[in-house]
């Protein structure tokens, strides 16, 4: 149903109906922020990345061959935008950050938070992404399928593996429940 709605909204947007694109934006924005935040260290940067992804999607909307796949498509754009931003972010951080060592934010966080951050960072991107989608905004499996373009079984498997790895990492670091 949502696919069909997306398809209709994309088609309307292509026929000079800005509000249809607005609906698509509102529908996917929080998901895109979650995806971007699984890549970028800063929440505000993640919001910027999500907005830039929507702009990029807007520019290329006419190239989208399967409008019903708008969700996975814009999700992939967001991933790329966030990765680009991360590269720029690291470049900017390098000159200042070399003698400081770690992310300065980590120093302010308590130890538990820092370990949890590390546990998330050591995950492969595709596993970290499902964790963020699931816990960022309590997204359902069904919602996640729309943006990841994967089945519920696949997503469930990824979540299991991700949590297993996190739990193992925390245990190794002596993290107490």
């Amino acid at each position: 149903m949502r696919d069909l709605e997306d398809q209709i909204l994309v088609q309307r947007a292509l026929q000079s109906d800005p509000e249809s694109f607005g609906k698509l934006c509102r529908r996917y924005y929080d998901t895109l922020v979650a995806i971007a935040n699984s890549i970028l260290p800063d929440h505000h940067l993640a919001e910027d990345a999500a907005q830039e992804a929507l702009a990029s999607a807007c520019r290329d909307l006419a190239k989208l061959k399967r409008p019903e796949r708008f969700g996975p498509w814009v999700g992939a754009i967001c991933r790329n935008v966030a990765k680009d931003m991360l590269r720029q972010f690291r470049k900017q951080q390098e000159p200042v950050g070399t003698d400081a060592g770690n992310d300065p934010d980590c120093e302010e966080k308590d130890e538990r938070e820092a370990i949890l951050d590390q546990a998330l960072q050591q995950l492969p991107q595709h596993l970290r992404e499902v964790i963020f989608l699931r816990y960022y905004n309590e997204m359902s499996y069904e919602q996640m399928t729309k943006v990841l373009g994967a089945t519920e079984q696949t997503i469930d498997g990824r979540l299991r593996r991700a949590k297993k790895k996190i739990a193992a990492y925390l245990k190794k670091k002596g993290f107490r429940r």
Binding site: D17, Q51, A62, Y135, K163, R177
Partner: protein, 362 residues
């Protein structure tokens, strides 16, 4: 889903660590931050992606520093606009009820967006498109008109913006951009030209000029399901101001014909097709050419951002110079330019001689 959650403590921990309040996107703000995209959404996508061609590469490519050619360029732009806007209104004497109502309605138009194509072909060979520097002179167009701010014409070749012309009425400035080359040309819209542009760029001005024309009623038809009345114009009188401004050697308008379809219910133009025969002149690289332009009307009194009419060259653009142009134009055109006194004839022959000398040495 179905799997047993043996890590409830971890769920809680992760939720506490990652969870955020649901994000709400303010689409209006987003649109303000992304004006180009917002414009695309308002004005349609088909022209941004469709493979196409259009307009006189030659014309914009040949614009030079000389005042004569600058005038010519501007005049061509105005002319293109004229083909679209001029035609829908005949003489009052011809005046069916439709035209009278159209005149009233047009007087109330403040902004409009038009789309269409512009194609240059050889006379008697409608399928043979004029090419210049490897570019087929067939462009898809988007035009923005505002009574208050002026006119913008965008020409797309093969899906990419090839030229963008901006007439800013309040600033009396004209900016022509060639994104492919990162080149621009900017000049003041002055004297008679400014007056001319003002006349042609405002619906009321256009209306006054149109009343001087003559038209024939062709009967009723249907375009995209809209019932329309068709009119044909065949008169070069509205172009007299151009003729006065531009010598024949620069822009030689030989014949003009246009058909206009006016929506019976809406009492506004729906479509315009114009054909212009241009004789050998600078603007056609000294060849006889036909210009065929089709424009579809659809959006009247839409909100147009003032920034669309900005005449500041974008960052990274450099000014188009005479030497940029001389690199690409054919020899016969250079000879024609020499005839107009725009470049010294000696320069051309000196370059030819040098080239020949180099060949002989090889």
């Amino acid at each position: 889903m179905k799997h047993e959650n043996d890590n409830q403590w971890l769920d809680l921990l992760l939720a506490q660590h990652i969870q955020h309040e649901p994000e709400q996107l303010d689409f209006e703000k987003w649109a303000e931050k992304h004006p180009e995209e917002a414009r695309l959404l308002r004005c349609g996508f088909e022209y941004s992606s469709r493979s196409m061609k259009t307009k006189p590469y030659l014309i914009w490519r040949f614009i030079m520093e000389s005042k004569v050619t600058r005038y010519s360029a501007a005049a061509v732009i105005v002319l293109a606009m004229t083909l679209v806007l001029l035609s829908p209104f005949g003489t009052p004497g011809n005046g069916g009820v439709v035209l009278a109502d159209v005149q009233k309605k047009v007087a109330g138009i403040e902004t409009m967006i038009l789309r269409g194509t512009k194609t240059f072909t050889y006379p008697g060979e409608p399928d043979r498109i004029f090419e210049f520097d490897g570019i087929k002179c067939k462009f898809d167009l988007v035009k923005y008109h505002s009574t208050r701010y002026g006119l913008v014409e965008e020409g797309y070749a093969e899906g990419k913006l090839f030229y963008r012309i901006t007439f800013n009425i309040p600033e009396e400035q004209t900016l022509i951009l060639f994104p492919k080359y990162n080149k621009y040309l900017k000049f003041a819209s002055m004297d008679a030209l400014a007056k001319l542009m003002e006349n042609f760029a405002t619906p009321n001005g256009i209306l006054n000029l149109l009343l001087a024309g003559d038209c024939e009623k062709l009967g009723r038809d249907k375009i995209d399901g809209i019932e329309v009345e068709a009119f044909e114009f065949q008169d070069t009188e509205p172009f007299e101001p151009f003729k006065e401004l531009l010598p024949k050697a620069v822009f030689n308008i030989k014949n003009f014909k246009a058909k206009v379809w006016i929506g019976i219910k809406e009492q506004l133009p729906v479509r315009v097709e114009g054909d212009l025969a241009i004789g050998k002149s600078f603007m056609t690289m000294f060849q006889d050419l036909n210009l065929h332009e089709v424009n579809t009307f659809g959006e009247y009194n839409v909100e147009l951002d003032k920034d669309i009419f900005d005449t500041n060259p974008p960052e990274g653009y450099t000014e188009l110079t005479l030497s940029d142009i001389l690199k690409v134009i054919p020899a016969e055109a250079k000879a024609g330019l020499a005839g107009l006194g725009i470049i010294p004839a000696g320069l051309i022959f000196w370059k030819r001689r040098r080239k020949r000398a180099a060949t002989n040495t090889d």
